[in-house]
Symmetry: C2
Subunit: 128 residues, 2 copies
Amino acid sequence: MQIEKLIEEKKIKLTSARKELLELFLKAQRPLSYEDVKDKIKMDKATFYRNVSKFEEESIVNSFESNDKKRYYGIYVSAHAHFICQVCSSIECVKSITNMQLEGYKIQDVILKGVCKQCNQRNNPPSS
Amino acid sequence: MQIEKLIEEKKIKLTSARKELLELFLKAQRPLSYEDVKDKIKMDKATFYRNVSKFEEESIVNSFESNDKKRYYGIYVSAHAHFICQVCSSIECVKSITNMQLEGYKIQDVILKGVCKQCNQRNNPPSS
DNA sequence: GACTTAATTGCAACTTAGTTGCATTTGCAT
DNA sequence: ATGCAAATGCAACTAAGTTGCAATTAAGTC
């Protein structure tokens, strides 16, 4: 996927900040918070939040609140759920859960919370 | 359901603040934030947060972050999903979605985001 | 390529949900 | 009733996210 593809047809400028940000989101393959981003690229938080907000308006990224009080942003790729681990706070994309229906409602996002595979095994090792 | 039932067997005191809080949660039938609570009962926010945190430890309530940056708390009643409307920020309990499974993971909570019935109808009225 | 202008940026000050330290109060067991 | 740990209210704090503003930059026009 190309950065230019994401931006073209949208009514926003392709600045260097936006290019860096979108490249990072594409590379990450999982939603990122400002905390995650600021270690990788030098960018003021105001710029970050204004840009992800604009990306969201343009349906380039979507976002959700996690359990750690932070908001996570990721490139919008077809409908898929997110799993948030309540033990280690990790976030994973879940491709297998899709097209959920609820009469009269429009479902745009599904968030699952619980204990992830790693933390589950750590607490209940299969060979003990 | 009785307040005393919720507290008994747990290692916490039944103070008047806790009684009021649990009564409110039981009456509300939907998750509440501190904002919701503070209009109904006089209670310092430190007391609120310390108590809901204790209730959560004792599995009396559970909680989740909504889209409005606030955390919502409700009496824990069997597994059910929550629907958060991205338009009007309302929160509803969804009893119909239950026992979701994901190999290797433990799912403790399901949050659906989208457009609720009311907002859906407002934008796409059936008779027009 | 230089010119123009609106959009974008960084900075610093601000907002607000939630947390923490501490002195006072309260529930509850003896 | 007494003693004491747990709970409360207050005020000060923390940190994610927002906003106003002056300086900078992308991108269209000549």
